[in-house]
Symmetry: C4
Subunit: 227 residues, 4 copies
Amino acid sequence: MSEGSTDGTPKSKKPTYSFHGNERLTALSDGIFAITITLLVLEIKVPEIAENLVATELPRELMDLVPKIFSHFISFIVLGIYWIAHHNIFMHIKRHNHVMLWLNNLFMMCIASVPFPTALISQYPNQQISLVAYSGTLVVTGVVLNLIWWYAITHRLVDEETTDKAFIAFVYFYNRIGPLLYLLSIGVSFFSIAIAKFVIVVVAVIYIVPNPLYRQHYKQLARRFNQ
Amino acid sequence: MSEGSTDGTPKSKKPTYSFHGNERLTALSDGIFAITITLLVLEIKVPEIAENLVATELPRELMDLVPKIFSHFISFIVLGIYWIAHHNIFMHIKRHNHVMLWLNNLFMMCIASVPFPTALISQYPNQQISLVAYSGTLVVTGVVLNLIWWYAITHRLVDEETTDKAFIAFVYFYNRIGPLLYLLSIGVSFFSIAIAKFVIVVVAVIYIVPNPLYRQHYKQLARRFNQ
Amino acid sequence: MSEGSTDGTPKSKKPTYSFHGNERLTALSDGIFAITITLLVLEIKVPEIAENLVATELPRELMDLVPKIFSHFISFIVLGIYWIAHHNIFMHIKRHNHVMLWLNNLFMMCIASVPFPTALISQYPNQQISLVAYSGTLVVTGVVLNLIWWYAITHRLVDEETTDKAFIAFVYFYNRIGPLLYLLSIGVSFFSIAIAKFVIVVVAVIYIVPNPLYRQHYKQLARRFNQ
Amino acid sequence: MSEGSTDGTPKSKKPTYSFHGNERLTALSDGIFAITITLLVLEIKVPEIAENLVATELPRELMDLVPKIFSHFISFIVLGIYWIAHHNIFMHIKRHNHVMLWLNNLFMMCIASVPFPTALISQYPNQQISLVAYSGTLVVTGVVLNLIWWYAITHRLVDEETTDKAFIAFVYFYNRIGPLLYLLSIGVSFFSIAIAKFVIVVVAVIYIVPNPLYRQHYKQLARRFNQ
C-alpha cells in the first residue's frame, strides 16, 4: 500500500517483494506452540508402583515429582513469554517474504526444541551442561525473535502506520531483556548453578508480573490500536 | 469503540490498555484442547498378549480396559465442558491485554494437565490421593475460568452491548457449579471414594443433559446474537 | 436471518436458540483430525536390529512392516473420508447450539478413537474381535455423523437457501453407505474375516474413486455455491 | 466468477464442480505440518545415564546425539521447504473439488510419513535402504505436490487473474528441482551413500539461500499481489 511512505522507519536499499497476509504463518506457529506446550505438560508421567506398596509409596512418589513439575512449569512460562512476544510483534508485521518465512521456521524449531533441554535439566539438575543447554536454547530463541523484528523493520514488512522509531526501539529493548539474562545465567553457572537457575526464574517473573515496563509496552500498543 | 459507555457493566478504576481481536488466543487454545483431547483418547493402549494365548485372552484383556476407558471418557467430557465454557465466554470477550493473555495461558496449562490426574485415577482408582489430585485439578481449572470472566468484566474486555448485569451473574453462577461440586467431591472422598467418584460423574451429566439451566443460558446468549 | 422461511426444510416445533459462526467448532475439529492422522502415521516404528545383523535383517524387517503400513493406510483413508464428510456438511451448517456442540464433541471422540482399533487389527489381524472393534468404531462414527446432519436439519441450523429436500436426502443416502457397509463387514466376519476386511477396503475405494455418485454429490453442492 | 475467462490458462474439457474457499483444507494441512515438525524435534531424547557416571558421561553422550540432531535438522528444513511450497501454491489455488481434497490428503500423508525415514536414516545411517526410503518418500511427496499444481491448473481451481502461462511454468520448474535431485540421490546411493547424503543437503541449501531463482520466483508472486 503505502510502499513509498518512509516516515519514521529505516529504508531498505533494494525493492522488496513481499505479500500481505500472515494467516498461515501464524496458524503454523500457533500449532507448533500448542503442541510443544501440551507435550511439555504431558511428559510428567504417573509413577509405577507395585500393588501392595501403593498406599504407602504413592504420596511420597508424587512428592518426588515436584522438582520435575517445577522445571516444566518454568518452561511452560518461557513458552508463554515467547508466544506472547511472537503474538505481539505479528500484530505489527503485516507482510512476509521468503526470508521471513525461513526466519519464522527457525524460530519455530527453537520453540519445538525447548522440551529437550527441559528434560535434560529436570533429569540432571546439578550438571552445568544441563543449564548451559537450557539457557543456550533460550538465548538462540531470543536472538532469532530479535532477528525477525529487525528483518521486518529493515525490509518494510511492518504496518508503517502503527510503528514509529520510539516504538521500534522499545520492542528491541523489551525483547532483549530475556536473552541477555539467559546469557548472564550461563556465565553465572560457572560459579553457581543454583544462582544461574535463580536468574532463569527471575526472567519468568519479570515477564509476567505487571510492571512499569509492561505498562509502557501496552500503552504504546494501545495508542496505536485503540484510537 | 464504545469505551465510554458504562451502562450495566462495572467500571474499571484506571484506564485499560487492551486490543481488539482474540483470533490467535483462541487458535492457541483450540490447539491445546485438540491435542489434549486426542492424546487422552490415544493413551488407551492395545494389550500385549503372547501369540498362542491371543484367541483366549484377547476378549478378556479388552474387557479389563473398560474401567480405564470409562475414566478417560469422563475426562473427555470434562474437557468438552471446559472447551464449551471457554468458547461461550469468548463469544463475549472481544479484547485482551497482558493479564488476560497470562490468565488464558494459566487456564491452558490446567487443561493440558488433565491427562495426568486421569492416568493417576485410572491406575490407582482406590487411592484417595488420586481423587484429590483429579478433583483438585478441575477445581483450579474452574477457578481460573471464573478469574478470566471476572477479569474481563472488571477491565471492560467484553462486548458491552451483549452483556448486561443479569447475564454476567448468570455466567458466574453457571461456571461455578462444576468447581463447587468438584470441591464437594474432595470433601466426600474422606468418607467414601465411590461417592466422590459418583459426584464427578454427576457433574458430567449436569453439563451435558439439556435442562432448564441450559435453556436459560442459551436463551440469554441467543437474545443477544440472534436478533 | 431468514428464520421464518420454511420452504423445503422440516419445521422444528419449539423455538431454537442457536448462534451463527462455527469457526471454533471447525478449528477444534480440524485440530483433532490433524493430530489423529499424524499420530496414526507416526505409529509405524523403525525396527530395532542388532548392529551386526543390520545389513541382512533390515530389508526383511521393513518388508514385515508392510501389512501394518497397509492397515494404517486404510485408516488414514477412513479418516480422510470422515474429514471430507464433516467438511462438506459444515459447508451447509451455519449455526450451532448446545446439543450440536456435544454431538460434534462425540463425533470427535470417535475420530480420536480410530487409532486404537487400527492398532488392534494390525497387531491381531486374524481375531474376529479386532474386526468387530474396527468396524464397530466406524459404524458408531458414521451414526454420529448422520445424527449431526439430522439434528442440524430438524433444528434449522443449516443455511436454508443452500439446502432443498432432494439435497438433504442425498446427503443422508451418501453418508449412510459407509456405516452400512461397515455393519455388513461385522456380519460377514462371522463367516470370513478375509471377506470382512475386503468390504472395508471396498468402502475406501467407493469414497475415493470418482463415480456417478460423486458427480451427483458435487453437482448438487456446486449448483448452490457456484452460481 | 470469471469461469468463462480462459486467457493464459489451459482449458478443462468438461465442466468442473468446485467450491470457493480452502480455509479448512489449509487449516488441516497446517495442523499436520505443525504436529509433524514438533514431533520430529521431540524425538531427540535425553540419554539415560547411571547416577555415578553422569558427570563424566553426559557431555560425551550429548555429543553422540549430534549426527541424529543433524539428520532431524535436515528433515525439519525439508518440511519447511514443503510447507512453504504448499503455502505458495495455495496463494493461487482458490477453489477445490473432490479430487483436490484427496490429492491434498495424499500430500499430507506423505508429510506425516517423513519422521519414519528420518528415524531410519538416523538409526541405520550407512544402509543404502535407509537412503532409498528417505529420498523415495521425498520424491513421492514432491510428485504429489506437482500433481496438485497440475490438477489445479487443468481444472481451473486457480485464481486466473494471478497466474499466467510463464508463471505456471515457473512454479512447475521450481517445484521439480527438489524431487529430481532426491531421485538423483537414489541413483547416486548405488555408488556412494556419502555423496547421496550430500545431494540431500544440497537441496536444503538450494531452497533456503536466496538466489536468482528465488528472486525470480518472488518477483513473479509480488507482481501479482503487490500492485
